[in-house]
């Protein structure tokens, strides 16, 4: 991968990581978008989409609710997309290892967001006099510093995660022993378990959703049986 391509990936990770909470929350940080964008940046959007879909199934349950702690999928999915496209799908385990890299990066990204929120509190605390005096400039500075810090956090996370995980991914892929069929099947089974479980958790309390879900499953499997989506 060229230096420019890596720079593009790091920049994209910065943008998608910032989108998670700070600006503009347009959901370019969702795995299905950010991993696909990473793939497109490296000339393989379809491969990026593949990683993005697996991570999206896993992220379905994540609700970015206020003060709760959750994985940071934006930067992490860019890293996962870049890892998979960078591996050229050479190994049977390339997709699984890329998804694992994405999950680890998302976990660390979630921890880095907690750190950022504490730092934002410190920044606001240091400018308390200006805020209490109603200085418009201070409000503006606190807000922009928060967004800039989040962007820097996401840039750093993407750069470090890619730099560390790319060689690990190559090493793991070289030692891979499971055959391609079982590697892909195991990954799909894990992602589908999480998506099915998440769907149940999200919707089962609302009256009628169980039947609608079962009806949807019948339609989905019916489409597969008819070969519409085979």
């Amino acid at each position: 991968m060229t230096t420019w391509a890596i720079a593009g990936i790091v920049l994209l990770g910065g943008v998608t990581g910032t989108d998670t909470v700070s600006f503009p929350q347009a959901m370019i940080s969702r795995p299905i978008v950010s991993a696909t964008l990473a793939g497109a940046l490296l000339g393989a959007p379809a491969q990026g989409l593949l990683v993005g879909v697996v991570l999206e199934l896993i992220a379905l349950e994540t609700l970015p609710v206020g003060a709760s702690r959750y994985p940071e999928w934006g930067s992490a999915s860019v890293v996962a997309g870049a890892l998979y496209v960078g591996s050229h799908g050479d190994s049977a385990g390339a997709l699984m290892v890329a998804v694992l890299g994405g999950l680890v990066a998302a976990w660390i990204g979630g921890l880095s967001m907690v750190w950022l929120r504490r730092r934002n509190a410190t920044l606001a605390h240091q400018r308390r006099a200006g805020l209490d005096a109603g200085s418009g400039g201070t409000v503006l500075r606190v807000q922009l510093l928060g967004i800039a810090s989040d962007f820097a956090r996401a840039l750093l996370l993407t750069g470090v995660a890619y730099a560390v995980l790319a060689p690990v991914e190559r090493a793991l892929a070289n030692q891979w022993t499971l055959d391609p069929l079982w590697s892909r099947s195991a990954l799909v089974a894990v992602a589908a378990s999480v998506a099915l479980g998440a769907s149940w958790k999200l919707f089962h309390l609302v009256a009628g959703t169980r039947w609608l879900f079962l009806g949807g499953l019948a339609i989905g499997f019916g489409l597969l049986a008819l070969g519409v989506a085979a």
């Binding site: 347009a26 694992l100 606001a124 109603g134 799909v188 999480v194 998506a195 609608l212 949807g216």
Partner: protein, 257 residues
């Protein structure tokens, strides 16, 4: 003689409304554990508060900014209702105590209603529609563009509606939260998402497995057992951690066996 309802004042100029809309997209930019989105609310209100008599170098402007930068919590999209209402209240020179009471009272409802409507409804529904398109062999551009357009139509519409309703109703905006969209919307979205989930998951699952379907039955059984485990463990283990543990285990098994 009885007086008719008082007509709301004309909305702020287009430029100010546009600035407030843009700033609403960054309302969580300085999110922290002390004031949550308090600074963000003041940041969104700053363009309209400059319209106070005398502009930004007056004690009124400074008092309003100081008030608005204090602790506030809301769903980031529904914060638009509060921003519109607070803008109107400040420009109407409402008593500071009333504004404080309004801010305190709005925190809970604007958070919980938004979480149910957007995070637990609109977002998963948009994701599931994109996953269904992927399963129907949609290309990368179609899948991503559909997701982003669908989700953000709802996102931007909610911001615009919130800002307008907040301005129109001022401190009485709480009644706007009784709108059918908030009362029935979460349940309707949950039903739609449940139906789409049922369609999307097998389709996405099938495309991910690819042309080689030899293990399809085994995958399906494993997925159902895994889903039951995810639901059973929900209080102790988040689903993404479950995935991380399982995938780590499979990778280790493959590498060291």
């Amino acid at each position: 003689m009885s007086q008719g309802p008082v007509a709301p004042p004309p909305p702020p100029r287009v430029g100010i409304r546009a600035a407030m809309m843009l700033r609403l997209l960054a309302v969580q930019g300085a999110w922290n554990y002390e004031t949550l989105i308090g600074n963000g609310i003041a940041f969104c209100l700053e363009p309209v508060l400059r319209e106070l008599p005398g502009g930004e170098h007056t004690p009124e402007f400074r008092a309003a900014m100081a008030r608005q930068a204090r602790y506030f919590n809301a769903h980031p999209y529904l914060a638009a209702f509060a921003v519109g209402a607070l803008a109107r209240a400040e420009l109407d020179h409402e008593a500071p105590e009333r504004i404080e009471r309004f801010r305190t009272a709005m925190c809970g409802p604007l958070g919980s209603v938004g979480d149910r409507l957007v995070w637990a409804g609109w977002l998963p529904l948009s994701s599931l529609v994109a996953l269904a398109l992927f399963g129907l062999h949609g290309g990368a551009l179609v899948v991503v563009a559909t997701f982003l357009v669908l989700y953000n139509v709802g996102h931007v519409a909610l911001l615009m509606w919130g800002l307008r309703t907040g301005w129109r109703q001022g401190l009485a905006v709480a009644s706007g939260l009784g709108h059918p969209i908030f009362r029935r919307g979460p349940a309707i979205l949950a039903r739609a998402a449940a139906l789409v989930a049922g369609i999307a998951i097998p389709l996405a699952f099938s495309r991910l497995v690819g042309a080689e379907r030899a293990a399809l039955g085994e995958i399906l059984v494993a997925a159902l057992l895994g889903a039951a485990l995810v639901v059973k463990l929900q209080a102790r283990l988040e689903a993404w951690r479950f995935a991380l543990l399982l995938i780590s285990g499979i990778v280790l098994f493959s590498v060291i066996r």
